[in-house]
């Protein structure tokens, strides 16, 4: 176990900056998820920590060792790959035992330790098989076993669940979380699946264009996205983001088409820098909007676009001009609604983002 620290780490591929001066400290025993769309630099960051990529700038530390220029084998890490990377020409026993074999562990002890780990991961009966004879879920466990067997200081996961089907994925997710708690190891986990990141991680680093857009506990990131990117990325369906103009005199937000909302409930926390007439983006999650069948003092007139029953909850998607606004209702059957309705926004749960996408309140 050890702390992992990235200090201004940069990685370029030609003219593309894959990882742009990242600073990240992962505490001893902490589980951090790197979350972002494809091409955001999350996998490159993980490979930099593993030593499979060389940093073009900055320093990396594991514990108090500077590992920036160390080859992977000297970093004391374990990694689980997206494609599992089980050696097809070896049995599962030899696959899991390979890290021990490389370390010169005697065969008897190797077999004993592999058997222990395999029993624990419920693949003890598969040790004599080859990877090709295992199901996807079993291969995944075997690759985790290979990472667990040699007690590395840091665990790296590169989208380990993305090749499993939906049902297995939820099982494997719970299993990984239990395992991480039991082993109490430092772990870095790359995924593009926010549900996975939210479920597993102590902290999430949301990445885009090679930078960390926000780093925080899952609920913190969900409740208070620090910028428009995180606001639009986290949450399913994502936050409604409505461009509008600030009218400080009338204390209103004016939307394209003329509809307006009163700024009551948010005034006291507005930044002093907010200027009259400034273009901003109002953000609100779908669960913080109420649908009214009559106009209120501060409501938005919208047309109902579609309703979607999602099982335990339902989604109403409405239209204002060319903006789509979704509302999440915690009822299994979508209500029958007239064509034109009004939306009442819970202003204490709104966010205001400036022209640069930064959170203003």
């Amino acid at each position: 176990m050890a702390e992992v620290r990235l200090d201004n780490v940069t990685r370029q591929f030609g003219s593309v900056v894959a990882v742009n001066a990242i600073n990240l400290t992962i505490a001893d025993g902490e589980f951090v998820a790197l979350l972002g769309p494809s091409g955001c630099g999350k996998t490159t960051t993980l490979r930099l920590i593993a030593g499979l990529e060389q940093a073009d700038g900055g320093h990396m530390y594991i514990g108090d060792r500077d590992v920036t220029n160390l080859p992977p084998r000297d970093r004391d890490i374990a990694m689980v790959f997206q494609d599992y990377a089980l050696y097809p020409h070896m049995t599962i026993l030899d696959n899991i035992g390979y890290p021990l074999k490389v370390r010169g562990t005697p065969r008897a002890e190797l077999t004993k330790r592999v058997t222990e780990v395999a029993e624990r991961l419920q693949i003890g009966n598969l040790l004599q098989r080859r990877p090709g004879q295992l199901s996807g879920g079993q291969q995944q466990r075997a690759s985790v076993a290979r990472a667990v067997v040699y007690h590395a200081q840091v665990f790296l996961f590169d989208e380990p669940l993305s090749n499993l089907d939906a049902k297995l994925r939820v099982e494997a997710r719970a299993f990984l979380k239990r395992l991480q708690h039991e082993l109490d190891v430092t772990a870095v986990y790359v995924t593009h699946d926010q549900a996975e990141a939210m479920a597993l991680a102590d902290r999430i680093a949301v990445m885009n264009h090679g930078r960390i857009m926000q780093l925080g506990a899952p609920l913190e990131v969900y409740r208070r996205p620090q910028n428009l990117f995180v606001a639009s990325f986290i949450g399913s369906p994502p936050m409604n983001l409505l461009p509008c103009r600030v009218d400080l005199g009338a204390r209103r937000l004016v939307f394209a088409g003329g509809a307006a909302l009163e700024m009551t409930g948010m005034m006291e926390r507005l930044p002093a820098s907010l200027r009259d007439g400034e273009m901003v983006t109002l953000g609100i999650r779908p669960e913080h909007i109420t649908i009214r069948e009559t106009a209120g003092a501060s409501t938005l007139p919208v047309k109902v676009y579609v309703t979607e029953p999602l099982g335990g909850e339902s989604l109403v998607i409405t239209q204002m001009g060319d903006l789509l606004i979704s509302i999440r209702l915690f009822q299994d059957e979508p209500p029958s609604l007239p064509d034109a309705v009004w939306l009442e926004l819970n202003m204490t749960h709104t966010f205001l983002y400036g022209a640069e996408g930064e959170l203003m309140r």
Binding site: A50, G51, P71, R73, D83, Y87, Y98, S143, R146
Partner: protein, 275 residues
């Protein structure tokens, strides 16, 4: 597929049979002719099959030495050298980011197919002469290897490219040195490709005629492809019974090598990575 008229079907079968016969006849000749004391160029079942032809061939020490010693040296040498160099070269070309490496491979292939064989014989002879490699087996092996390598590297690189890097990365991360990773993980995975290239190189060097003819002087160093001429009369007419028996012996090692490797390793390709 559309249903064919019976006439078209019959036509197709006839064509297939003719094509098949065209390729099978020489094989049949190769099997029947050596057993026939009065071999001609036609395929006939010998009325009194005998092994006399083989006995006569084995009495020709020069030809047997060519087949069992010189050919094995040249074929085996070229096979080992091509396999080793092509494996290492294609592995490094596939696994390292060298600017222009792709272009290099294509240029190699292009040059080797344009400037090869007969056209390059004079410069190759001069080169071998100046290096003192005339009348040496190693000279033939090196020239054959040089000619075969570009295609071998091309085939092998495609093969290595098809093997995901994560196998090797998994080994590197869990503590193996790069050399160990190559032997433990990469080699077993590329082995089918190495075997394909090795056999291909062996067959090519085994059948080589022009290169040993130009580079070798002493009769006792000649390979079998040239030793065939010892079964010709001074006027240049072949002694067909002996030529056929020798030709039969000439094909056996190639077939054996193929069968042994196919039986021992199999030309199957590994799958088994989750995509």
């Amino acid at each position: 597929m559309n249903r064919m008229s019976p006439l078209a079907r019959a036509g197709l079968f006839l064509l297939a049979i003719l094509l098949g016969l065209f390729f099978v006849l020489p094989m049949l000749w190769l099997i029947t002719a050596p057993l026939n004391p009065r071999t001609t160029l036609s395929v006939t079942l010998p009325s009194q099959p005998s092994l006399d032809n083989f006995r006569a061939v084995f009495d020709n020490g020069f030809a047997i030495r060519a087949l069992l010693v010189n050919n094995l040296i040249i074929g085996g040498g070229a096979m080992v050298l091509v396999a080793v160099v092509a494996t290492l070269a294609s592995y490094s070309l596939s696994r390292t980011r060298v600017p222009g490496s792709k272009l290099l491979v294509y240029v190699l292939i292009l040059f080797s197919s344009v400037v090869s064989g007969t056209a390059a014989m004079v410069p190759i002879f001069l080169l071998a002469y100046n290096l003192g490699l005339i009348n040496e087996h190693i000279g033939v092996i090196l020239v054959m290897t040089g000619g075969l390598l570009p295609s071998a590297i091309f085939i092998m690189r495609d093969f290595v490219d098809s093997i995901p890097r994560s196998y090797e990365e998994a080994a590197l991360v869990c503590g193996a040195s790069p050399r160990r990773t190559f032997w433990d993980v990469a080699m077993p995975l590329v082995r089918p490709g190495v075997l394909v290239v090795a056999i291909w190189a062996f067959v090519n060097a085994w059948g080589a005629f022009l290169v040993p003819l130009v580079l070798l002087r002493s009769p006792e160093k000649m390979p079998a492809s040239i030793a065939f001429y010892s079964f010709y009369t001074e006027a240049g007419t072949p002694n067909l019974p002996l030529v056929s028996a020798y030709a039969f012996l000439y094909t056996i090692p190639v077939l054996l090598l193929y069968l042994i490797i196919n039986w021992r390793f199999g030309f199957r390709f590994f799958g088994g990575i989750k995509r």
